[in-house]
Symmetry: C2
Subunit: 460 residues, 2 copies
């Protein structure tokens, strides 16, 4: 498929946008020289000047409600970068049924014909090395998802996906083979999301090359579709379900630390990727001359445990994965190991490319509403690392439950809650510092938060 | 280190065996032309004739108790192969302290000097393609573990392993770096086990090449050391803790199905490994000519979900991972994706090597006795797939609890319980079939079971 629709659209193809997406950000050449770009669902018009002074928290208001009455709020970083790194998107995704046998080109001519199935989509992107990748991702990922879902829609609408998308039965026992592999409609949606992230990464690579821009972003996307919630994550944002009696993590973070073994294994298989500039071994600290000839603690790709290694001169090179916690870096460069973009990224002053080590594949978690009794105050909280760096799941859940219990009747309570969470993580300015209530340092990063009420899911 | 001690031993090195192992199987050239080889701790002398007729269950008796009063029982397969595929080992492992600065060669001369720390070791090996790999593994793995533990013993005996094995402090903040990475003595034992499996795999490769033999084996090893139980697994055997109120899985199985993504990814990175004989894609069934040009269900390396792929002629090749459950095969050849040996194995009638896809690295699970109140009837059950193919964890736990509750005073109750478990999985002969009590088919495979009472661990 390889982003054919993007190429057509770039060539000035169809007058209308590829159909069916409502209320969300549409595609368009990324505006240049932005400093602060708010998501379309927040903006009145165009681009605002950076509201850095005072780090005002902006959020959804009563005038433009999001689907399900979801709340969103954001704050820009405290001069960490020249622009806001986070981007958000939210829209309905309408899936058309494809006519069997219809060619891609013919189908293209049917503009937004019959709405067939509807999904709801929320996503957060955290950029690095420039805002462009996050902006493109916030403009395109939902198109990629729409396209990948439409490609398999014939299988999704069956109780059990047919072996052949056409429905033709080549072999009598095909249904048994599919049954034996436990393949359900849900697996097609997961596959569509995995493929959509790959497609979006390709789109970003083409677009960035064409416009001579650089950078990358993390991506966290939630899709409600056919009674299930799918959360796809590539990066260090996080989504959790805060239910009445439990917290359900819907994502895990992909960082140089959590993916150390994958990264080291790649370097073991393809040593040239390190171009003699890095060592693939992990040590508790950067080694120095005095360590040569000594046996020091180390880990290689196949080890979850630790061992001792006799230090050679080559071990003094900078490690592929180095540092701990928020300081952990891949090739001394990136704080995440998955995401979109970064196609051109090289380690500064070297020929070492970062992209081969990055994965754009999300891990998808599924929550089936049919198996749970969802209560009125149950929500999905999605946020970039700006929030989770200073608040843990338990603290966020406590704030959610307390706030919603104390604000039962406010029709905009989920927006207020999102602002409240962002405010808490941003803290208060004291002199030149941003401090939490408990006088720890607050988050200096961009902070973006969705609070999505699950009980409202059938009201739209 | 590369199996230096093995080379020395082969050259007719020290007259005595590398010291400190008591009561276990010792190294020696593998006997040839075996049909049925029982573990040394069961045998009076030498090799017995195959007791295939009737598939008699053999086990430990009162005359030769195992450490902790552990029970062991086994039965040979129902003519699945010419030899018994399972092998077992059990011994104490005595760890000497290494003198800092002492050269490997000098140290070698100190025969079994001071016993310093003691571990207890139980292991099961399930061979394929010949019995030799399992026999060598049962003879050598504990030596590899002993050696790897001795290499890091200076770090294990500290509350926190030092950055430098010598204890020399090159950098004042070294203890903080180690602390920050959460490195504990336990991690050195895990690392030693991971390295020991690699070393043993190398030993098997050398030994098999030298003696012109073939084959491989799975390996499941349990080590009790310094108050913790370590279970290292590479293959499809399984260990579970049956406690009073819970079942704790201590291993997971590594099969072509559970490791599909790793295997497909390797084939994606190195397509030449498949030598145009296989396709890396997974389909619900083997495709045929009629499927070409159709879109059928498939998965690639990056997908946990499923998608539809337009079938090309190349997709008709045999899949890298094919089949389901016990029928799943790697390259149409092996039912496991991790294990030791198979260095020379090629797919029949091709030049495709299997070894690059096999991993010899175990996953190590740790159970800390300090965190649990172990009761008198709590046991570790280790068994080859012959048991788990027909009994699930819950059934085994139920049998364990019922049997031990009904046999409180029998001093050999753990041996009896092991026999009882093997008997249940083997079933009874009815005509030409082996049937379970519930008239399902019983296990035709070799079945080997250890039942290890945890409450006795401090009595030896």
């Amino acid at each position: 498929m390889s982003a054919e629709w993007l190429r057509r659209w770039r060539r000035g193809g169809p007058a209308e946008r590829p159909g069916g997406t409502q209320g969300g950000p549409g595609p368009g050449p990324p505006p240049t020289a932005l400093r602060y770009r708010r998501p379309k669902f927040l903006r009145g018009v165009g681009v605002e000047e950076s509201p850095r002074g005072g780090r005002a928290v902006r959020g959804t208001g009563p005038e433009r409600p999001l689907p399900w009455g979801a709340g969103y709020a954001e704050v820009i970083n405290a001069e960490k970068s020249e622009f806001n790194e986070d981007q958000a998107a939210c829209c309905q995704i309408s899936i058309r049924r494809r006519e069997p046998g219809l060619e891609e080109d013919e189908e293209w001519l049917i503009l937004c014909s019959t709405q067939f199935l509807t999904g709801y989509y929320w996503a957060l992107f955290d950029g690095h090395g420039g805002p462009e990748a996050a902006i493109i991702a916030s403009n395109y990922l939902h198109y990629c998802i729409k396209q990948k879902l439409e490609e398999v829609v014939g299988g999704i609408t069956e109780v059990q996906p047919p072996m052949h998308l056409s429905g033709r039965c080549v072999c009598d026992s095909d249904p048994q083979f599919v049954e034996e592999k436990h393949i359900h409609a849900e697996d097609l949606v997961v596959g569509a999301l995995e493929n959509a992230f790959q497609e979006c990464d390709e789109v970003i690579g083409q677009e960035m090359e064409a416009t001579n821009q650089t950078g990358g972003c993390t991506a966290l996307a939630a899709l409600y579709f056919q009674g299930k919630l799918y959360v796809a994550n590539a990066g260090d944002s996080r989504a959790i379900l805060v239910l009445k009696d439990s917290i359900v993590p819907m994502s895990c973070e992909f960082t140089p630390e959590t993916e150390r073994q994958r990264l080291q294994h790649l370097a073991f298989l393809f040593p040239k990727l390190l171009d003699s500039e890095f060592t693939r071994f992990e040590f508790p600290r950067r080694l120095k001359g005095d360590d040569v000839g000594q046996k020091v603690l180390y880990r290689d790709y196949f080890m979850e445990g630790w061992g001792y290694k006799m230090v050679e001169k080559a071990d003094l090179k900078y490690p592929l994965v180095h540092g701990h916690g928020k300081q952990a870096r891949l090739l001394g460069t990136l704080a995440v190991s998955r995401g979109l973009g970064d196609h051109q990224l090289k380690v500064i002053d070297t020929n070492v490319e970062v992209k081969p080590f990055l994965s754009c594949i999300p891990k998808v978690n599924v929550f089936d509403f049919a198996l749970h009794d969802i209560k009125e105050d149950d929500v999905l909280v999605m946020a970039t690392d700006g929030l989770w760096d200073v608040l843990c799941n338990k603290e966020v859940a406590h704030m959610v439950r307390t706030f919603l219990a104390e604000n039962r009747t406010d029709p905009h309570r989920f927006s207020e809650l999102a602002k409240c969470l962002v405010c808490r993580a941003r803290g208060k300015e004291r002199g030149h510092q941003w401090m939490l209530d408990d006088s720890h340092e607050a988050s200096y990063d961009d902070i973006s938060v969705f609070v999505i009420p699950l009980h409202n899911r059938n009201e739209d």
